[in-house]
Amino acid sequence: MKTGGRHQANDTKSTSISNTIIGIHFHRYIRTYSFLVLLSAIPMLLNYLFLLYSGEFLSAKDIYDKQNYPEPHEIIYGSALFNDVSELKLYSYKSKKPQIISFGSSRVLQLRESFFTKPFYNLGSMASSIHQALDVATLLLKEHCPEVIICGVDFWWFNNTYQKPDYHLMSANIPVINKIDPAHLLQPFKWLREGIISVGQYLRFYELDFNPNIGVKGKIKGSGFSSDGTYS
């Protein structure tokens, strides 16, 4: 009986030891995991705040509202992350319903609202091939029919062998303006390395809020799209 009792005591002791060891494993597992996640979160959070304060995460509607309310004013949208601003241009076109538009490649971007006496919007850089131009035109006319359309096309569009490699059917898939890719959160590091932004600008991200322009390019370089769709 005594031996059995000793065995039982030994068993209880060994179970308790193995539970403690298991507990240590789980404790270490959670500690390592939490440490790594928190460690990586700090620089990402700084990058995220930098992009957030620069207005890179604003939607097409937010940008349009900032540029046009209470009345159209000179606020530049210059994103350093998104080259394709079709969503913003389409949204602005739908909202403004202009009587005159210029439409085509980036070469029509110089036409400004001040050149005209009637409401005007510049839809330049939305097309880079004849197929894309037709596709975008169909999309635009579905929404609203302006009185005058100034079309800017490049002569090579009419060359049969020319096919823009990255063309996608606009009516089926309009790129979302604030669709941030995870890789975008690493971009501020790249800009720092290339000297596009300074360490001071990066760390004083909260000061970006004082600049009315939108986007890193808009706030830092003052370049981007105006409320009439032109690029400056």
Binding site: A41, M44, H184
Partner: protein
């Protein structure tokens, strides 16, 4: 509140864990119940009232149901009436209007979230109560079983007798958090990185087909295979998250997906795909209809038709169910034929490979119906898949094989609905993951009682890959941290895509 939302991951779940940890065991069950109600009410408070009314009604009526067929019939009918009213009314009205040439008004009601799941969950409870399985009825346990937030919206379907006893042992510990949290992260990764990563390409193809754009041969196959992968990673990811969340509170849920795309027959596929629904349909529909004893094939077809209809009020779902019913009948006939010929033991590698190819082909074909918004869209995709709209290939192939100049050389993806190279890595890696890597059951077999209630299922032990089994090691901690960071970055990056099974 979606499992893949910031408010769930960073507010609801941590807050619930902290509050849960503060209370004594008995009170902590109330915390879980209240938390589950809050989780459900986040979608709609009126739907929460519906859920609580449904739970109360079923609990009260279950007291008088034992061996009383009339009460059982009335109670089950009431549940089915509820689901018909919310889910199938417009479908029935639309079809009756068409057949009778009269205008039946539609109703503009949103489908209460998870109604298909919580109704089926309670029907199972009623039937089990009829057979007198539950003497120890407890309202709190029953209410928690139905509304428990990990599974209230999209399953897995569980039985009272399996889960209610576990409520006595709920608790939070480092072990529970590590195991449950890891399973949750794996599920989240499957949903956010893999399923949502493929989704835009699949949506582009099916949406374009719906708009009347004819997809090319390659595009249609890309769409069909892409959806096959998306649905699996989306729904199995959700199930893994549910299992992980429940495990965080020391509740073990049964496994819902056991690598279904490794199945080498349709029968095997249904033993691996949405296993809790398969079990429900078998126990509460197929067997009461007569099971294998009489009119086996009729029962099988009827069960699959109802299974199809359960997924949604659309002819595409009914046809999907019908197709799988036919598949199963053919599979059973083939098995019987082999048995008669004494060829059951002949399982050569080439036979198994051919069986797998045929099975996955049939499954992919059926998912086109499942994904399509209408029969017309499905037909357009099928026509392209089988070359009725011609076969379009890359112009560069013309130089390599000039003899095939009768083929259309406008490019594999001639409609250019998306950039193929953006999706190809996710596409290929997801195929490798679902065919070559172990699933949750294989990884956590030592830590979760997955098979407790699935002893009748023929889960092949050959699947168990012991070398990759999860242990609370530093290596796994690093891997999980990398996956978490990846998930957070992706969460920051994209708009939330709802779980596909939220629609059912």
């Amino acid at each position: 509140m979606l499992f893949n939302s910031f408010e769930f991951i960073f507010i609801f779940l941590p807050l619930l864990c902290v509050i849960f940890g503060f209370f004594h065991k008995k009170a902590s069950l109330n915390v879980l119940l209240l938390g589950s109600f809050v989780f459900y009410a986040y979608h709609s408070i009126s739907n929460l009232c519906l859920l609580i009314s449904s739970i109360s009604f079923n609990f009260v009526i279950s007291k008088y149901i034992k061996n009383n067929k009339l009460v059982l019939f009335l109670a089950v009918s009431a549940n089915i009436a509820l689901i018909i009213y919310f889910k199938y009314y417009n479908f029935i009205a639309q079809n009756l209007s068409h057949i009778l040439a009269v205008q039946i008004p539609y109703q503009d009601k949103a489908l209460p979230l998870g109604i298909s799941f919580f109704t089926f969950q309670q029907i199972a409870y009623l039937v089990d109560s009829y057979y007198g399985n539950y003497a120890d009825r407890n309202f709190r346990s029953f209410a928690l079983l139905v509304s428990f937030f990990p599974h209230s919206i999209a399953g897995p379907l569980v039985q009272y007798k399996d889960v209610a006893p576990q409520f006595a042992k709920v608790g939070i510990s480092l072990e529970n958090l590590s195991i449950g949290g890891t399973i949750f992260i794996i599920g989240l990764f499957k949903k956010i990185i893999i399923a949502d990563g493929i989704a835009p390409s699949v949506n582009a193809i099916f949406d374009a087909a719906g708009l009347g754009i004819i997809p090319s041969f390659a595009e249609s196959w890309f769409g069909a295979i892409g959806y096959t992968l998306q649905l699996y990673f989306d729904f199995s990811g959700y199930s893994d998250m549910a299992i992980g969340l429940a495990r965080m509170f020391n509740v073990h849920f049964p496994i819902n997906f056991n690598s279904p795309y490794k199945a080498a027959s349709i029968i095997d596929f249904w033993h691996r795909w949405h296993m809790s629904l398969s079990k429900f349909l078998r126990d509460y529909l197929y067997i009461p209809l007569g099971g294998n004893r009489h009119s086996r094939y009729r029962n099988l077809l009827l069960t699959m038709l109802i299974g199809g209809l359960w997924h949604g009020a659309n002819w595409t779902f009914i046809l999907w169910g019908f197709l799988h019913g036919i598949y199963l009948i053919i599979n059973h006939l083939w098995r019987d034929l082999l048995k008669k010929l004494g060829l059951t033991s002949n399982k050569s590698i080439s036979y198994q490979v051919l069986s797998w190819i045929l099975t996955i082909f049939c499954v992919i074909i059926s998912w086109v119906l499942f994904r399509s918004d209408s029969l017309e869209t499905a037909i357009v995709i099928y026509q392209s898949m089988f070359g009725f709209h011609g076969i379009s290939v890359s112009p560069t192939l013309l130089d390599i094989i000039p003899e095939f100049n009768f083929i259309n050389y406008e490019g594999f993806f001639k409609n250019q609905l998306f950039y193929v190279w953006d999706y190809l890595p996710a596409f290929v890696s997801s195929i490798i993951i679902c065919l070559c890597l172990p699933n949750i059951k294989n990884l956590f077999v030592n830590y979760v009682k997955f098979e407790k209630d699935f002893s009748n299922f023929n889960i092949q032990s050959a699947d168990l890959d012991t070398s990759l089994r999860w242990v609370p090691s530093q290596a796994y901690a690093i891997l999980m941290a990398i996956m978490t960071i990846w998930i957070i970055l992706a969460l920051l990056s994209s708009r939330k895509i709802e779980f596909l099974y939220f629609n059912f």
